[in-house]
């Protein structure tokens, strides 16, 4: 078991390194292939009408005049031991994990990311609880009452949930229920205000996922209910309630939980559309701005963070799988 976990952790670290190399490559090599010079790259970070001297100064300051390999080396060094920057009268030390200073705002990337993590975390936690509870219970009920009005109605709603994009449902719900907008209040300031303001984003986001989970649970339940062991359980004379909850639901939940782990990991890397629609200053919104500004340190920071969450979620799911299912460990 220890060896299994170790190899998985090692794989996760390797995955992060590869991600950072790919992002670096996309940022530097792709524009170059398209015929862009480093001057043109640097010119994006100066005001309008930059002079050649200004561009040269910016290039030097941002390190864009160095070979990509050296720039990458500096980036990795920053994450491991920190780096020093001079953006004014004094030299600044950026402690590890230093993702560098933003090209545009000239602020260290890491503290801003950590600051925004609380918003994304709040959004993901609330929404995931709602969708897990709602999605699974609707799925189970639908499966048990297959073909009834409830089943059909629930599945139509679920279909709508899966197909309607957040920027539609989000704007619609804002206009209907809270035209005054959502103002994020940190949990530590006021738990009530926190929950009150996040309720609408939670429900909107959960609507999308709950729909998916309901459909999956329903399909899983239907499949499980036709299995031999359910018939055996019924034959043993177990009450129907025990058959559905203890036997059928449990077997159905394993793949659902796997999916749940991955979805949470994905969401923590930024619920881009939800955060944008509801103007929540989270990781997703940060990612959009970073990409819009072509701000490499920010893009790298946010990509690495998102990748980290996905890799960790994967790792946990893998380990839980191994715990739950001995066949995984043996192979």
């Amino acid at each position: 078991m220890t060896r299994y976990i170790l190899t998985r952790v090692l794989g996760a670290v390797l995955m992060l390194v590869v991600t950072s190399i790919v992002v670096f490559g996309i940022f530097f090599i792709v524009p170059r292939l398209a015929g862009q010079t480093t001057d043109q790259l640097a010119a994006q970070y100066v005001a309008k009408d930059p002079s050649p001297e200004e561009i040269a100064a910016i290039k030097q300051k941002l390190g864009l005049d160095q070979p990509v390999v050296i720039q990458y080396g500096r980036f990795v060094k920053g994450i491991v031991v920190g780096r020093e920057f001079q953006f004014g009268p004094d030299t600044e030390y950026c402690p590890p994990p230093c993702f560098g200073y933003s090209f545009k705002t000239q602020r260290p990337v890491w503290p801003d990311l950590v600051d925004r993590l609380s918003v994304t975390f709040s959004l993901a936690i609330g929404a995931s609880i709602i969708w897990l509870v709602a999605g699974v219970s609707i799925g189970v009920l639908s499966a048990l009452r297959r073909g009834t009005f409830f089943d059909r109605f629930a599945m139509i709603i679920a279909l709508a949930g899966v197909s309607l994009p957040i920027f539609f449902t989000g704007l619609l719900s804002l206009a209907l229920f809270k035209p005054t907008g959502v103002n994020y209040v940190p949990f530590t300031d006021s738990p009530f205000e926190w929950a009150y303001n996040l309720l609408l984003p939670w429900i909107t986001l959960a609507f999308l996922y709950a729909a998916l989970y309901a459909r999956l649970t329903r399909a899983g339940m239907l499949e499980t209910m036709s299995q031999d062991f359910i018939r055996t359980a019924r034959a043993k004379g177990l009450p129907e309630r025990t058959v559905t909850t203890k036997h059928a639901l449990r077997a159905t939940l394993t793949p659902i939980l796997t999916l749940f782990g991955l979805d949470i990991g994905l969401l923590l890397g930024g619920a881009v559309l939800t955060e944008s629609t509801f103007s929540l200053p989270g990781i997703g919104r940060y990612a959009i701005d970073a990409i819009g500004n072509n701000d490499l340190p920010q893009v790298l920071g946010v990509t690495m963070l998102a990748a980290f969450f996905i890799v960790v979620a994967n790792l946990i799911v893998d380990i839980l799988y191994a715990v739950a299912d001995p066949r995984v460990r043996l192979s």
């Binding site: 862009q36 001057d39 043109q40 010119a43 994006q44 970070y45 100066v46 005001a47 309008k48 009408d49 930059p50 002079s51 050649p52 001297e53 200004e54 100064a57 910016i58 030097q60 300051k61 001079q86 953006f87 004014g88 009268p89 004094d90 600044e92 200073y101 545009k104 705002t105 000239q106 602020r107 801003d112 600051d115 925004r116 704007l171 804002l174 206009a175 035209p179 005054t180 907008g181 959502v182 103002n183 944008s276 629609t277 509801f278 103007s279 200053p281 919104r285 940060y286 701005d289 072509n294």
Partner: protein
């Protein structure tokens, strides 16, 4: 004009009546009645009521709140709440808002006989938020730090270009301020700018936040934006990039030293990176007071406002100061021939371009000159008139014959693919030109590098045979010089980041700029700006089609609301909340 006067007189009379009936008890005097476009004509909801929090929002973020490192119009307007420059624009409706008035300084600049020395005396008793007095050295330092282009790259470079400071590289490389020779400070109240050559609009230049004083001891370079030291009625409580910007009253600001601003609300709270539709919803729901960007509401809110009388009376449809136009590159055949350029001038259907930009309310008014109406020097003329501005195919064909292309020609239109208005305008132009047998192919490129790599790189234009390029422009200060110089002065053509995209380089136009710079008479300068506009239009390589407008919405709770013509949005320095 008469009608305008009449309405404002009536409004004032009504308000006086109201005041009288109030018995003068409260702090509110309600003159400045509301109404559609009211804030363009008068200060709406005039009040001296204090307290409350002004709620603002922005769909993007600041480039920087450091007064020395910012270049957005809204940012320059808003910076006046926490910083005082040497001069500023008057608070008032209409053309009054284009007038300069001294701010930190006691008067406008005193220009020496040779025009190369401009002197300002500071008002006494102005303090920073920490209570230390503001001296001329703090202003000098503020300008000096804008020379550190590697640390503070966002602002304009007018001081770097104009001041006689050798190869000074900013105070971070050399901490001795005496090394900066472009400005002298004979005493704590006097500041003397040394120019390389005369510059008529210098008073406008020093209205930029780059002259907002910065104490050298408190300067932290790029990090200064975390807490710029205030001299205005508000001080920065916190600024978190991408999230929020909160200001509160600066207790060391003294109203008796500042005739231009007001300190009414207790706090100003601005949420950054707020979704644009969300901003509109909040504005209309009353939970938000103003959109800081000041560029107008989105399409869905526009229709809501225009179809609802009670919303409409809180809206203003105003010139943003932006000109939308396209150019023909004089170095790319067949546009090296003036008659071929004229053919395009006549063939252009400006109404279809206006529609592409959202029509008269959201887009703007049809333009036939380069200078928009709210710029000093604007004159009304039209060198290429067509019926109803819809284009004149016959005249276009005559011009084509004159340029030796009676059967038309092929060219390319360059535009920004991520600007929906521009894309539809490009298609509209393509159709209009086709009627005159000018076949244009559309080349769309990303906006992010439009000026560094595509339209702003003459080499790219030549190599790819791009005849026509769409662009837009807003002046750094509202005079003909501030507006036109970067667009039509041939000496500003650059290998990249070029804004004189048509590559117009006419000795007579260039000379007019020098003449305006050397003139000390504002009236004469104003007249020269009109001449430049005409001379540039005669060259036929620029086709202005729209004076940009936006539909702004003001929360009826907001007091002292007036459009500043200088910024094309609400004046942020006097707002309050009732």
């Amino acid at each position: 004009m008469n009608r305008r006067k009449l309405t404002s007189i009536t409004a004032a009379g009504l308000a006086l009546g109201l005041l009288a009936s109030c018995g003068g008890g409260g702090g509110t005097d309600n003159n400045g009645a509301t109404g559609f476009n009211a804030a363009a004509e008068r200060v709406v909801n005039q009040s001296t009521k204090t307290g409350g929090t002004l709620q603002g929002a922005l769909s993007s973020d600041w480039d920087s709140i450091d007064p020395g490192n910012t270049y957005y119009a809204f940012s320059w307007n808003f910076a006046r709440t926490y910083g005082r420059a040497l001069t500023t624009f008057k608070t008032g409706a209409g053309d009054a808002g284009l007038e300069l008035t001294p701010d930190l300084a006691q008067g406008l600049g005193e220009v020496s006989a040779d025009g190369k020395t401009v002197t300002y005396k500071l008002r006494p008793n102005i303090k920073f938020e920490d209570g230390t007095p503001v001296t001329s050295k703090d202003v000098k330092y503020a300008v000096a730090r804008t020379y550190a282009r590697d640390v503070l790259p966002n602002g304009p470079t007018y001081f770097v270009d104009l001041l006689d400071a050798g190869d000074y590289a900013g105070p971070y490389k050399n901490k001795d301020l005496n090394a900066f020779t472009g400005i002298q400070t004979p005493d704590d109240q006097t500041i003397v700018f040394k120019l390389k050559q005369p510059f008529g609009d210098f008073d406008y230049l020093v209205s930029s936040p780059q002259t907002v004083p910065v104490p050298q001891a408190k300067d932290t370079g790029a990090k200064y934006l975390e807490h710029p030291i205030s001299t205005g009625p508000y001080k920065v409580d916190s600024y978190v990039p991408g999230k929020e910007f909160i200001l509160s009253k600066n207790t060391n600001w003294d109203a008796s030293t500042d005739p231009n601003r007001k300190q009414l609300a207790d706090k100003i709270d601005i949420k950054l990176n707020t979704n644009a539709e969300d901003i509109d919803n909040r504005l209309l729901a009353g939970s938000l007071d103003f959109d800081v960007a000041g560029s107008g509401v989105q399409a869905s809110a526009q229709s809501k406002i225009l179809s609802n009388a009670s919303l409409k009376e809180n809206a203003d449809n105003v010139f943003s100061g932006r000109l939308w136009y396209f150019v023909m590159d004089e170095k790319v055949a067949p546009f090296d021939n003036v008659d071929c350029r004229k053919a395009v001038q006549y063939a252009t259907d400006k109404v279809s371009l206006q529609t592409a930009y959202g029509g008269p309310v959201a887009g703007g008014d049809i333009a036939n000159t380069m200078l928009p109406p709210n710029i000093v020097g604007h004159q009304d003329f039209n060198l290429y008139p067509t019926p109803d501005n819809k284009g004149d195919v016959n005249k276009a064909k005559e011009a084509l014959a004159a340029c030796g292309q009676p059967n038309g020609f092929n060219t390319k239109i360059l535009l920004r693919s991520d600007r929906p208005h521009e894309v539809s305008a490009g298609e509209a132009l393509q159709q209009a030109l086709a009627k005159a047998n000018i076949k244009a192919e559309i080349v769309s490129v990303p906006a992010g590098q439009y000026y560094t790599r595509f339209a702003g790189a003459p080499n790219y234009m030549h190599q790819n045979n791009i005849g026509i390029a769409f662009t837009g422009w807003q002046a750094d200060w509202p005079t003909g010089f501030g507006f036109l110089q970067q667009l039509v002065d041939g000496r500003t053509i650059k290998p990249q980041g070029n804004t004189n995209i048509e590559e117009m380089n006419l000795p007579n136009v260039n000379a007019l700029f020098d003449q305006a710079a050397a003139s000390k008479d504002p009236a004469q300068r104003e007249q020269i700006y009109g001449q430049i506009d005409k001379a540039a239009m005669e060259q036929a390589s620029v086709v202005p089609f729209l004076y940009g407008k936006g539909l702004l919405y003001r929360n009826p709770q907001m007091t002292n609301v007036v459009i500043s013509f200088a910024y094309g949005m609400y004046d942020y320095s006097i707002l309050g909340i009732s």
